[in-house]
Amino acid sequence: MTKNSTVSKVLEKEYKYGFLTQIESEKIPKGINEDIIRLISKKKKEPEFLLDFRLKAYKQWKMMDEPKWADLNYPDIDYQDIIYYSAPKGIEKKKSLDEVDPEILETFDKLGIPLNEQKRLSNVAVDAVFDSVSIATTFKEKLAEDGVIFCSISEAVEEYPDLVKQYLGKVVPINDNFFAALNSAVFSDGSFVYIPKGVECPMELSSYFRINSGDTGQFERTLIIAEERSSVSYLEGCTAPMFDTNTLHAAVVELIALDDASIKYSTVQNWYAGDKNGVGGIYNFVTKRGQCKGKRSKISWSQVETGSSITWKYPSCILQGEDSTGEFYSVALTNNKQIADTGTKMIHIGKNTKSTIISKGISAGHSKNTYRGKVHIGSKAIGAKNYSQCDSLLIGDDAEANTYPYLHSKQIKSNIEHEASTSKISEDQLFYLRSRGISNEEAISMMVSGFCRDVFNELPMEFASEADSLLGLKLEGTVG
């Protein structure tokens, strides 16, 4: 008993991003219909093709049913009670950082993402998204020297409509699933990245998403294109204030890697998770998919999921190009009444495609943590290989850990290997650490960190330590 309470003490850390920024926002009326979609499109001064895209998606969405997963209950979402567009007032005329409301700049400062020239991180370019709009993108000019485009998706629509038209909705079709269709209809902003042929992106790119208003859904859209022989590492972080109502976040992320290109996409997700009794928090229903279109291309997803009251998220790889590689590294920590249902899909289409899945779930409190993953080896994927490892750590006897892998193979010359285990922190390991003078609390932290090590090793340096402290673990130097 005492042990369990120490463990939960370790895991329980106040949500320090829960503050609300007082700012005047321009919101459109609640609800969704064709007029609303036209209004969003008009506000963003979008070309015709995009409005068509949105309307088509909306038509599809209307005909679709909200997915009802087995053993998961949450109150019905009233889609007419959501505001689909909210932007800080006067945002349209922003040209430089000086014109951005200081309140907002301060908000990002507080979140540890300083945007202004003096304070900003020297090796990371940041696109900061506040509610429905992108506020600022740093290092744009510097990146442009190498031909790298990094901007908000709205800006990309204006400046590079051909690229957007060519790739948007190609990896995640508008009718892919209920939430992807909704996103396609109403997406407001997000990031756009284009790495030209042969360019290794000179710095880490990063987007930071902040939901500020309580009644607004966030529907961001990210599109990353890596041309032949290019490479990029992209980070994504997110937080929200504490509200006692649930806020919907339904993002779509599309990645395209051409011959010999490589994309590394890392997420540290720390949306507000609701309180101890599961009141409030973000519904995080996200579609993320990468297409390894080119030969020898590589897409790697890493994620640390600690927030949100409900998370559904399966960052996937379509391994189309010969010798392409897909990777998925995930740590999901749930506490109190959180639900995380996450995993990946590795679809092997091309010859000699390889995928690796490492998933670490930690469930504490009354939470439910599920790994749901699919490995599909198609009939042409000669020489395809998959290795999956899914481990769960249970803390306290009210937490639930589920492992649902679906493995499918149609190819004789292929290999799938899946391993999974569920365990708790061993008393003997705990005693060993304590007998070397390490306190109970710290010993547990160390072991949780150690449990996640394989995944932390995959995170970019800048995020690795943040991820560690996110887990509520103060241990320094374990990572990196």
Binding site: A70, I377, S379, S392, L394, I395, G396, D397, D398, A399, E400, A401, N402, T403, Y404, P405, Y406, L407, H408, S409, K410, Q411, I412, K413, S414, N415, I416, E417, H418, E419, A420, S421, T422, S423, K424
Partner: protein, 409 residues
């Protein structure tokens, strides 16, 4: 308008006036409402429903109530053989320590385990109850090791529903050998329910071999009490479609379960195993391995769920699915699943899908063995750890005949 499924066929089933009347009426209603399970049910997602509909097209064999008992030659003293003969009758011989359940006991049993208590639609149980006019029950007693052989061999173009209940009393010990065969377009619907009492031991082997376009739906329901030990080795080969649903519940934990399965498929056969093991108490133990070998255009399905609720602390469970692809047109779906709420447990599962190892073949070849022989040796080795746990002692000669069929091409 509510759609009624297969009304003509369902109404053509002979009506029974006796013991089973009530369950039959209920089951027929269910069948009319639900028909063939929908693809949207996770458990039926991968099943070829065209093959399922054939179950509801066959004529039924005529009613039988008569039972004959026989001794098995050349086996242990207390052995019983229950066999399904050509006229569609069960024959069984009763030895010491095995008793038939009488009508009263069966009635009591049915009332305690009625279909209506099921939350989800159990297709096999429903067609079985809708069409079956018989249920054979045994009680196993005493300390001496018992043997029971159940042979269901059929070659008619019929639906053959069979249902058996075995109650193994406290401290008893029994080997059960089941042989199920089918040829032509026989469709079996088989249910066996085994209640394993405190400290009782059951070693259960099933050799099921189909030919032609024969099909088999089988449900194995096991309830284990404390300190009991249940082991199952189950082999499926050659059915155009076979599906074993295994549901094992450790009622109070503190028991040991071993499940082994082997699916050998070729041509366009579809062989499936769906298992659920649930621990309703602490200190349970499970070891499960499911293997499949696939040739030609065959399809193997495995879905295995292990449920460890909060009450089941100190459970140890392991589950492994191993699949061997021999042809480029065969396909495998496997999904070993864990659902765990207790924190003081050790559970793991694993799955592999692969082909025969080139290195192993090369090693054998370098010792002068040709490719064909090497393949055979490796395939046999793959099967052997399942086959070796079939309780052949029950009826050695019958076992040998049937097991020999496994290696037939």
């Amino acid at each position: 308008m509510k759609k009624i499924c297969y009304p003509t066929w369902i109404d053509s089933i002979p009506v029974n006036c006796g013991l089973f009347r009530q369950t039959q009426i209920l089951a027929r209603e269910q069948l009319k409402t639900n028909g063939i399970p929908k693809k949207s049910f996770e458990a039926w997602r991968l099943t070829n429903s065209a093959l399922l509909t054939e179950f509801l097209k066959h004529p039924l064999y005529s009613n039988n109530k008569k039972l004959q008992l026989k001794n098995i030659p050349d086996s242990r003293k207390s052995s019983v053989k229950l066999s399904f003969n050509i006229e569609g009758r069960f024959e069984a011989s009763i030895g010491n320590g095995i008793e038939r359940l009488n009508e009263q006991e069966i009635k009591l049993y049915l009332s305690e385990n009625s279909t209506s208590s099921n939350k989800t639609y159990d297709f096999n149980k429903t067609i079985n109850e809708a069409s079956n006019n018989n249920l054979i029950g045994f009680r196993v007693k005493g300390k001496e090791k018992q043997s029971l052989e159940i042979a269901i061999l059929a070659s008619l173009n019929e639906l053959i529903p069979t249902r058996i209940i075995i109650i193994v009393e406290e401290g008893s010990n029994i080997d059960i050998l089941q042989i199920i065969e089918g040829s032509n377009s026989v469709s079996h619907s088989h249910i066996i329910e085994i209640h394993v009492g405190d400290s009782a031991t059951v070693k259960h082997g099933i050799v099921s071999i189909g030919k032609d376009s024969s099909k088999l739906l089988a449900s194995i329901l096991v309830r284990q009490k404390k300190h009991s030990n249940y082991s199952l080795s189950c082999i499926q080969k050659g059915w155009s479609m076979s599906r074993f649903e295994k549901e094992i519940v450790q009622l109070y934990g503190n028991a040991k379960t071993t499940l082994q399965g082997l699916q050998i498929a070729k041509q366009k056969q579809e062989l499936a195993t769906h298992s659920l093991v649930k621990f309703n108490g602490p200190n349970g133990y499970l070891e499960q391995i499911q293997k499949s070998i696939l040739d030609d255009e065959s399809h193997s399905i495995f879905q295995g769920m292990i449920e460890v609720p909060k009450i089941a602390q100190k459970t140890e469970a392991s589950q492994l699915s191993k699949n061997l692809l021999l042809s480029s047109k065969a396909k495998v779906d496997t999904s070993p699943q864990l659902k765990i709420i207790a924190d003081d447990v050790k559970c793991n599962h694993g799955a592999t899908i692969s082909q025969l190892s080139n290195e192993e073949i090369f090693y054998l070849q370098s010792r002068g063995i040709n490719t064909k022989q090497a393949n055979e040796l490796l395939i046999n080795a793959f099967c052997n750890d399942i086959i070796k746990n079939i309780p052949i002692e029950v009826n050695q000669s019958a076992c040998q005949t049937h097991l020999a069929k496994l290696t037939e091409k």
